[in-house]
């Protein structure tokens, strides 16, 4: 938490603002991934297990990206029928036609799984709240728009009639701010804003600046918690624009050249990242994980964080190595 406030710390922390569920945790507590998304008790148990098992310094819920869209009225597929595979929830059908205005329900905070998620945060607070920070996340306006309308159409209309999209994104910024407040009220210590639909692999830095940045900045300014802006994919050309959005910290993935980002943003910027969640954490050896942590710290991250959600089938020894290596290499005093 001190890191997010820009205060001095003794050591670089090892935590995340994104999902942190592991197969190890699921096995230990005998919880099926497909059934956890609507069960507050189990979700809290799993979210806390990554701290309890490995000393990972946070507990984060939820695990999927459908909370806001569901509260707005989308139907979600949890893949309960799929037996032997971990599939992340997705949205069944798009809520509105691309370019169409949305209607924000009066009782947004009472809809979908928001009350359930508030309950999860409450459980986490009671369980481990005195030991680690409790995190939760919301989507950025552009990414949320991609969840509730056809993405291809959204991308095209963004080009052809940006004013229409701008109006929708402004409404979505309001949705996001309200959801974030509900999460804060439930006890979340920090909030991550995930704008993963807008990296430079998908849209141009130009469009990021003209269309994505204004509503994103608006949403962030209205979130009254310590807050992290996360974008995965290629963020090198947009880190400065990300910094202008006003979050307390930026989180980036392995495609980001952190040393370069540090140069661009200066000493005071709080940069979190950028351990490859699959190729290093899942596929790599313990030594690979240690080396990645060491490199990330040397390049200048203020917190060691996986580039995106922890990938559930991460081996136990790699999770341990992630935490241990951060302690070993992360002394700042």
């Amino acid at each position: 938490m001190e890191v997010l406030k820009g205060e001095e710390v003794d050591r670089v922390p090892c935590f995340s603002g994104m999902g942190n569920v592991t197969v190890e945790g699921m096995k230990k507590h005998n919880i099926r991934f497909a059934e956890v998304h609507g069960n507050a008790r189990d979700m809290a148990t799993l979210a806390a297990s990554t701290y309890k098992l490995f000393g990972y310094e946070c507990a984060v819920a939820p695990f999927d990206l459908c909370i806001e869209a569901e509260a707005l009225g989308s139907e979600i597929n949890y893949y309960e029928h799929v037996e032997d595979n971990i599939l992340y929830p997705t949205i069944k059908t798009k809520l509105v036609k691309a370019g169409e205005d949305i209607e924000i329900p009066e009782d947004l905070e009472k809809r979908g799984r928001i009350p359930m998620l508030q309950e999860v945060i409450g459980h986490l607070k009671d369980d481990v709240g005195d030991q680690v920070a409790i995190g939760s996340y919301v989507l950025g306006p552009f990414t949320l728009a991609g969840q509730i309308m056809d993405l291809n159409e959204l991308l095209k209309i963004s080009f052809k009639r940006p004013e229409d999209i701008n109006r929708i994104l402004t409404d979505l910024a309001e949705v996001i701010a309200r959801v974030a407040k509900a999460l804060k009220d439930a006890g979340a210590d920090y909030i991550t804003i995930r704008e993963m639909g807008a990296p430079a692999d998908v849209i141009s830095p130009r469009m990021f600046k003209s269309l994505v940045q204004p509503p994103l900045t608006e949403a962030i300014s209205r979130i009254d918690s310590p807050k992290i802006l996360h974008i995965c994919g290629n963020t090198n050309p947009i880190v400065e624009l990300m910094a202008e959005c006003g979050a307390d910290a930026l989180a980036v993935e392995q495609k980001n050249d952190v040393a370069e980002t540090r140069k661009k943003l200066g000493e005071d910027a709080v940069i979190l990242g950028n351990i490859d969640p699959y190729n290093v954490l899942v596929q790599g050896t313990k030594e690979d994980v240690e080396a990645a942590v060491k490199t990330a710290i040397e390049k200048g991250v203020d917190g060691v964080m996986p580039g995106c959600d922890i990938w559930p089938d991460v081996p136990a020894e790699n999770m341990q190595a992630l935490v241990e290596a951060t302690k070993r290499y992360g002394n700042t005093s």
Partner: protein, 228 residues
Amino acid sequence: MADDGRKKELIETLKKGVIEYDEDLVKETAQKYLDEGFDANEGIFDGLAAGMEVVGDLFAKSEYFVPEVLMSADALYAGLDILKPHVKTKDRDQKVKGEVVIGTVEGDVHDIGKNIVKLMFDVAGFTVHDLGKDVPLDRFVEEQMKTDSDLVCLSAMMTTTMVGMKKVIEKIKAKNPNVKILIGGAPVSKDIADKWGADGYGEDASNALTEAIRMVSALREMKQKGEV
């Protein structure tokens, strides 16, 4: 010949219309091109498809991004709608490169990359059956049988959904060992493609196309030799 110069001019305009994602310009030019009696097939390949190739390059160089590519695609399809009905049958038989089933596997909604690959196939003259995203694994098998496609293309962007590809490959190969299967998406690699018995792997969209053409030609050759 003045005619030839005029044809060239119109073909260049078609190309430019695609590159600059100017749907109206493409529509108008395609109509003029037909009205003046030029060959539809050349208009498609030297104009529209050539333009899309340039767009593919610009995307690879990060000068164009996904929205630009999608808009160029709209311009291309608008032109195709006008020109395609006028392609002479003999050209049509020659030029159809093959039939492809494509989709993103179950549990995965990442379809931006798949859509770009699909577009490249359309451009090259394949007949494409797009199943979309989050496609139940058996749908691939069914669609291949229904359309008797030469090629099945599977996309996955997550390591968990990627394993679904392995199942699809097994199922299709069990029913019809001659169908070629091409896989791709960020977590996929050449190694994985080999291990799971896919016939090919494509790192990006243009790569995917080269692979596809290679595989379908091999298949045709086998058919001609009567091995199939």
